[in-house]
Subunit: 189 residues, 2 copies
């Protein structure tokens, strides 16, 4: 396996095709992570969430980090790490354009409306179900991509298999993953 650093443009391209990421915020140097759905657009990541710990912490400390990846298998993956700043987009005239944009961007995400709208086992009151729209301004962005490299001896435990068998296996795994991804992203009729 060979690991390559991605350029800024390659990172942006990868983020455009990803929708699920893990967002970390921090308060008093205690980090906290949650999975989020997002949409990348012009140096910003757009998302929304329900009021709670994540929103409270980002309001008090806007510095955040997001990691998003696509893992085909352990020899073939892409991972992008963003460091940025939380910007809330309240329902005011000032943020009207950004909120419309966010709504448009997030509609292209099959899962954009979940899990923020769902009721939990605690059956929260209707009044709590107002989502907070926000975006992350990207300060820094780095990424890595791993690709199989048949010349590497990467594993002292498992013997290296012939390239042809490995390639077939890799293609099968990739095919299964694409099949699974297309199944979960397909809109219901």
């Amino acid at each position: 396996m060979l690991i390559l650093e991605l350029t800024y443009i390659e990172c942006a391209k990868a983020l455009t095709s990803l929708r699920l990421g893990r967002l970390a915020c921090s308060r008093d140097d205690q980090p906290y992570i949650v999975p989020i759905y997002f949409a990348y657009h012009e140096r910003h990541l757009y998302s929304f969430g329900m009021p709670g710990q994540k929103i409270d912490w980002m309001r008090s400390n806007p510095r955040v980090c997001l990691e998003a990846d696509e893992i085909i298998n352990h020899h073939d993956w892409t991972s992008v790490i963003v460091q940025g700043r939380y910007e809330e987009m309240p329902d005011t005239a000032q943020w009207s354009l950004e909120r419309t944009l966010a709504h448009e961007l997030l509609q292209h995400r099959a899962m954009w409306w979940e899990p923020a709208y769902v009721r939990t086992a605690h059956l929260e009151a209707e009044s709590d179900l107002t989502p907070i729209y926000y975006r992350i301004y990207i300060d820094q962005m780095t990424g890595r991509r791993a690709r199989p490299d048949p010349t590497d001896v990467v594993d002292p435990v498992t013997p290296v298999t012939p390239a042809t068998a490995s390639q077939s296996e890799s293609r099968l795994k990739s095919f299964l993953r694409r099949l699974w991804l297309s199944a979960i992203s397909a809109s219901p009729p």
Copy 2:
């Protein structure tokens, strides 16, 4: 979809079956995330990594957060969030037992030796390739599990499909995912 809170024991059980997580550390209230492979054992998460930003930051501030999940589809997922403390396990007599345990635990992870051992495009010197073994002592652990709930109207955009079609689709997706996961975790001959 109904979201249920997991008990401590359910979180521990979920972590036992997971191997990939996202670890967040923080320095001067700037969070940072990286994907890691881990093994859960008796209130600790065992892992290892190469020297770098993640290790430096955890040495200076041991408070960390790890999120691990299994996402079958957007109606059917489990997510566990751990808050804990970094403990380095240096190659000394004092940590000998824990290092042996870590090695044993991580051997059961098909990917335990990657990506820490791989050479990067920068072709780092051999002397840099000494992994740092560490574990996370779990201070707090919470988890949520989402399950499809046919009585919910969760989506104002997409019409609700009949339960039977939705269930077949869910079973197909679940099957494809299991097929893909078994393909990527199978050891080469």
